[in-house]
Subunit: 428 residues, 2 copies
Amino acid sequence: MKKSYQAMNRDELLLERQQVQAEYERYKAKGLKLDMSRGKPSKAQLELSNGMMDVLSSTADMTSVSGVDCRNYGAMDGIIEARHLLAEMSEVPEKDILIYGNSSLNVMFDTVSRAMSMGVCGHTPWAKQGTIKFLCPVPGYDRHFGITQFFGIEMINVPLLPTGPDMDMVEELVSSDPQIKGIWCVPKYSNPTGISYSDETVLRFAHLKPAAPDFRIFWDNAYSIHHLYDDDQDVILELLSECEKAGNPDLVYKFISTSKVTFPGSGIAAMAASPANLEDARKAMFYQTIGHDKLNQLRHVRFFGDMDGVRAHMRKHAAILRPKFETVLDTLDRELGGREIGTWVRPKGGYFISFDSMEGCAKRIVALAKEAGVVMTGAGATFPYGIDPKDSNIRIAPSFPEPDELAQAAEIFVRCVKLASLEKLLGE
Amino acid sequence: MKKSYQAMNRDELLLERQQVQAEYERYKAKGLKLDMSRGKPSKAQLELSNGMMDVLSSTADMTSVSGVDCRNYGAMDGIIEARHLLAEMSEVPEKDILIYGNSSLNVMFDTVSRAMSMGVCGHTPWAKQGTIKFLCPVPGYDRHFGITQFFGIEMINVPLLPTGPDMDMVEELVSSDPQIKGIWCVPKYSNPTGISYSDETVLRFAHLKPAAPDFRIFWDNAYSIHHLYDDDQDVILELLSECEKAGNPDLVYKFISTSKVTFPGSGIAAMAASPANLEDARKAMFYQTIGHDKLNQLRHVRFFGDMDGVRAHMRKHAAILRPKFETVLDTLDRELGGREIGTWVRPKGGYFISFDSMEGCAKRIVALAKEAGVVMTGAGATFPYGIDPKDSNIRIAPSFPEPDELAQAAEIFVRCVKLASLEKLLGE
């Protein structure tokens, strides 16, 4: 264990800074150019799905098991075999799922958009209810917050604890304020902290008593099967069935996609919800599109066969991702352990490592990293309006870089953390 | 030339009815089951694009000419080669086009949705401007009218003449009423009448002086390359460049897709517009999606090569569609020519034949056809709110049925027209 920076006197801090600065300059001189800003799969991961390009051919039968010609119009709900597969992936019955296009973010955007202009299940459109609000567990996913910001929805920060959102706060706000219409959740291997919601958290969500009858939980299960380890996986309770048991069947919209299973941008997305919620979605869908890409649905199903095929595929992703996560985490442990200038968790899945620096250091760390050729997700991005009140949280996305580049980037990152912290401790 | 029903006395009408009724019953007894309700390509047409399933394979290089890995996130505007191809298809410069997902209807929906919630190019959102209105040339495309109806936009019928919408009426309304925000147009091989807008019409559109600064022409060029004949094709002026010349560069959104070029639902769609309009669209797109399906863009480009490839492909579609159109038109000519109980035009492209019956007969004709096993597009569907004030227009979609079935359906249809007309003339 290294000596805590908090315990150093001024001379020690200055000496330490001299050393770290020299290390930083050496890395900077290497002229690295690396983008770690988004959770993009690496080339090696993309190769895993290349076989999907072979399953349909000019001589293939492109008919769904239900007899639908996937090359033509029709089957707005998605072809049966795709509904079956994504229902299993979502842990819901087939009747409770609709297959959409290539992006679950787009399904979420459309779901908010529909609520704004059409209202939720017959209630007054959100756009006609004055200022409405969403709860945003923080740190969270910038693109979620972007959607609510786009529609002028007021966002309220709720701390994300190791067990999930602060449910005392969620319950109090949701039950008392009818202007609160939703909450953004990434319940498993959360973006960015990597934590998974506890059973108690999920059950408290299922038993929420919202003041607004048109309140919905936006449950983005983006990393539901994105484990890093075979023998140490997070398991969360399935919220839709828990809502049903609690007498709250319409409380949740669940979202899922294969963006980080097959090809980002060329995957398939789905929404799982109660029959009433799906009927509401179908009504808008009729006006919105002539239907989604059924050939891509068929391609996915034929490539995987079944959920066992999906699971085997995800183990291959894990084999590529696991050493990358461990490289970053081991570097954090080795260089920052005991220094008392930041905290982080070891996620068991997902796409991110979340780092919390000393207060007021995140922007500076990201700027220093950029100067040394490493582009991180902008500090603040994990908070609504891009404002991290403590200027502390940084999202690390280890998936895209090649292993050797990533190792260097991690070394640079920890030096940036040290430098920014030393500056702060030295009162600069 | 057969004798006009209008010139028949009561006895002649009764005798004619007896004969037609007998013919109708004979067709009905055959128990045909045929859906002619939508413009769906036939199986033979779909086969033309099956080769598109072979152009990408597990060993293919899936990199765009600009170096973008089409399997990963990125390139929100679409890959360069797809922009190039669809720009040529749209007759606009590459800089003026954005590639979207699988459905141009969806792009139109989103464009209206964006105008409602965000406003057009910095103007007040439509949703906050009170009752807004759209002009709807009639007969027109039901799914266009569905979008404006969904958003609560008031629709005003404008007659569609052989040269395009009644431009005297369009100019007067658009220049005097700032609540009028748009007009739906299918300028070439119009849905359903098959007519193409004259040069004068296009130029008058380019020179419109709307009272509303956020008025836009929704130019759905759905059938721009969907000719039936090699040597007799409609050509229309390109509106975006005419708008530029007229000093109205931002006046138009152009929409296009490959839904009826390759596979409906698995094609690619695009919007062409001025730089200011595209910038406006990009702003929303950033919140709306993580990007569109670039592998499908690549698949399309590699399948066609270039516009010559597309044109050769469209000639194969024409070879299948042409005899179908001619079957229906020849049956109309033979059985209804001279009867003075309906009018129709011979389109040179597109997907539909539009039939105008005597006033008050369309619903009855469609009902009679259904009774005899032929499902047509619902009477009224070609008008906003599904209300055809004259109950006269019927859209015939000859593409999907097999040739022999189509021939029978056409025979049934003309009997239904005769029966409904005779009932009316007999005062029943």
